[in-house]
Amino acid sequence: MTKKLLKTWQKPSITPHQMGTLNKFGRPVSGDYVEKIDGVAVSDLLREYGSPLFVISEKRLRDNIRQMKRAFESRYQPVIHAWSYKTNYLNAVCATLHQEGSWAEVVSAFEYEKARALGVPAERILFNGPHKKRAILERCVTEGARIHIDNLDELYLLDTIAREFDKVTSVTLRLNFDTGYTEDWSRFGFNLGSGAALDAAIRIGNSSHLKLRGLHSHIGTFILDPRAYQVQVEKMCGFMELIEQQTHALIDSIDIGGGFASQNALQGSYLPTEQVVPTMSQYADTICGTLLKMTAQREAQGKPRLKLILESGRAVVDDSEVLISSVVAGKRLPDGRASYVMDAGVNLLFTAFWYNHKVKHTRPLQGIPEETVLYGPLCMNIDIIRQSILLPPLSVGDSLVLSPAGAYNNTQWMQFIEYRPAIVMVHENSLVSVVRRAEKLEDLNGFESLPTHLNGQFKFAE
């Protein structure tokens, strides 16, 4: 075996000795490689569905949500997980999570309609976000979805609609405040410190048709210190008691948003992910412990036990999806670094702008790892998947698995220059389904219509 391997040809490379320790390039990618995803060979997938290809693991997705629910539900009950559609609104992903009990958290008319079309009852939808036009608000009021009010104009509009339809509507108030651990996210909701939130709560209290039943806040994203959540829960519970005393509101749910970090490496972060990102148990311990303490007397006062709502997206879906991309060409850069042109770039892996994704090859590779740049296929300077990574030499046609790729890529990807590829889901029995087929010219031309006088009669320059 060893003899046979020694005989194979290796690309020559020149590398300074800097491996084996922590360094700014991370650890070299060697040793382990990904040959199969949930029992299905990567080569088979590429042969069947082409490259590049997004692959979702149904098992991993279910494991993630179950693990998160177990972590929270063993520390506090009742806990509701609302699936943040914007993270990944592929029907297959949403349906899997709804099967696991998750509600839907949407932030636009499009997402709302998508959730309803998928079969989510309106009362299991939380409607968030700063942009809600009259038409969609009317639909939400008639169908009974829970609206998270973002601003005063929305509050007035909603009050008008509820009066017009003569329907008492339960609403949630979105709050923002400083936790001392996170950056200030003051553009969404009503500020606690300035008194805007109390003012809004009193206005809802004075309305005959709006009932304040929930409080919501989202303190940021990729939060690495669980203590931020402790402050969040304390502030929200304190505000709840204040408004329950001052208005007739009876709060039934506290929505702490999302923001749990996934096992992805932020660019510029020095320590490995496993050391930086808290475990789900650590998040749950802090959040549930604080909530139990803050609401200990609530049931004795005859008030309903608070529902804890989580809107975690990234931490649930990110590592359950990967992007497989193949090497189109290799090129040695003038500064000596190796570089490769891949068939997927930031058009598909949008999160490459801020994450250093894990890169794994799909067969054992020979040769010494060297500093490498992975470029995408776009004819644009910014199209870089990894600015710097230690990789052994690759050949044209070699495929790489980029992960985690489940969060925000299938929603923020661009149809720019290239077609968008297929997305497949590997099921728990190792069967594979296409959950979104690859785009074709007809799909894209289908949106367009050509005025008749522009049809043909092209006069090309000689």
């Binding site: 177990r70 539900e73 063993s74 009950q77 009974g144 148990s281």
Partner: protein, 732 residues
Amino acid sequence: MHKYSALLKSASTLFYGYAAILFTENPRIGLLFLLATCWFPNIGLSGLISVLIAMTIAQSLKLRNLTSGLHLYNSLLVGLSLGAHYQLDGRLLLLLFFATALTVFLCVILSERLWLSERLPALSIPFVLVAFIGSFAAQNYGKLDGFLPPAPSYEVLIAAPVDYFFKALGMTFFTPIPMVGLMMFLGILLTSRYLALLAVCGFVVGNTFYALLSGFWYSYLSINSGFNFALTAMALGGIFTVPSWQSFSVAMLGSAFSAVIATAMQTVLLPFGVSMTAMPFLAATLTILAGLNRRYVSTAPQLLLENPALPEVSLERVRLANVRGFGKNALPLAVPFIGEWTVYQGVDGEHTHQAPWQHALDFIMTDEASKSYRTTGEFLQDYYCFGLPVLSPVYGQVSHCVSYLPDHAIGEVDTQNNWGNYVLICVGFQHYVLIAHLQQHSLQVNIGDWVYVGQKIAQCGNTGRSPQPHIHLHVQQTPYLGSPTVEFSLSNVVIERQKNRQFHLTALPVKNDKISAPLADHNLASSLHFPVGKQLYYQFRKNNQAPQTRCFTVILTLNGQFRLQSDCGASVAFIETDKLLAFYDRNTITDVCLDLWLLNMGLTPLMNGALQWHDEPAASLLPLPMLQKGLARFLPFGQRLQCHYQRQSHTETGWLQHAELTYDCFWHKKQTFHAQALILPEQGCTEMSLQIQGDVFEARLQASGHIEDVGIASLKKINHFERMEISNEKLA
């Protein structure tokens, strides 16, 4: 109208006095007994006059402690006994008046003294005392004319031994005539079949006992005092204890006692020409009751001195309590954790749960693959339950706790400190709850702290004799570690056993059961809230008959019991907590509409989510066809009704509660019926239906409201009809 109703009330009180002699409450039975006493008008009339005198005295002097009707039947007996010996004339009337007055006063004093000192009922002690006084005194009253009943005919009514029994029974009314005994026996039989059985058995045992020792199978002793044997058996086996084979044995023992006492008294009293009347019955019954009442533990026969009832009624109460898990002396505990856990070792477990520590449960948390850890399970942090919050299962005071012992590695055990870190909570009555193997320094309570149910007290750890992180829970008798354990159960719990998830009011799980505490559903609870004075108006209909409007009202009795009472007087007690609505103790007035409610809502947990549970309401609630209902009423022991409930919750339509009723009786093959109730948010149970052998019973909520009170106007909220139509479609 007012006068008429007052008269009716007096008549009913009068009949009640007659019925009370043989422990029944039905005025119609009382009327039957009144007729029976009038076999000899002289006797019957004397009795009736005495009762009327007693009623007048009690009412005009406003005497206390007479609500039970004790003075009525004691006076009646006094009247009957005097009428049996003397001609009813002016002189006897004079004696009747004074004897009755004395009886009434004795009743007032004796009932209170006996209850306060011994928790015993006075029964007919006042009568016996007055009868003795009267008999001895009358021997000096030469002006009284003796009454000699006509010589009894020797025609056999049914058969000699049966007549013999009826004669003895007739002696209760001082009328040893078989026909009178038969009427009385019919009265008992109509009231309670079990009491009738006790009467026959008691007489047979008492008579046999006497016959075996004396050699006389037919004796004057048995005719004159045989009713004592029967009454003793009825009181001991049917009225003051819950029917069981133990109570039956005690009843027979009592009958034999009374036979001995009767024999002895005959010897003593015969020379004086004084009758022993009910003395043997009183001596035997009260002796045995007082003896049983001195026990520390409550085992069979279970005494019912506080609320004596007909055997069928008390048996039903106890049966329902047993079915719902409250029959045993097991301390109900709340689930000491959050989420779904698995029983790792049950009661009498194979590892360490052995006598005297057999009553204990160990809990771990497992995943879909039944593993208790993720990855390899080498480290404590890999275990799902390690570090999870542990809650107090009771309200009590921390009597001792330890928190300094370190959590040891997987596979190690600390046999020096078997229980590891623990919290011991005293709940009183020699019950201490131990929660053990807690995480080092995780305790949030101190010695002397009072803890409430569901309060976080510590975190799950791996200290002491613990092969993997788990929670150990048991109840022990003393505050010392290692003291013997006692029985307990988990309350308000969902148990998943072999893929079948069921809610239990109380249950003792076994190994591998998955346990979780369902959450109270505040919306459901507020939809099914029944404050005093609440009224529900239902449109009730059977098949296609014209619907009738029925009303249920919530009443609060003087002793603090909430009851749901229908407009025809039928009622049922209920208890309402934030987690449960449970009905029990249905009175005997027939009302199909209330029974429809009970079959649908009898036991309703106010919990979240889709739930399944089981209950066994009284089979008499089923509106069976006349013939079957009659048969079922006459043979209450040979039948069983099992209800399997299932509830789906839906925010739009409310809650749909479905009951599968399985009726099993020995004279018919097993039958299954279906009932369904719809509960709407803020409106309550708006629709109920029951299909039974081709008949359909339906009720729809028409309105709900509140009766008026001083300062509070009555309130009636009519339900929206459209809403009902929508929900009806959903139902279909």
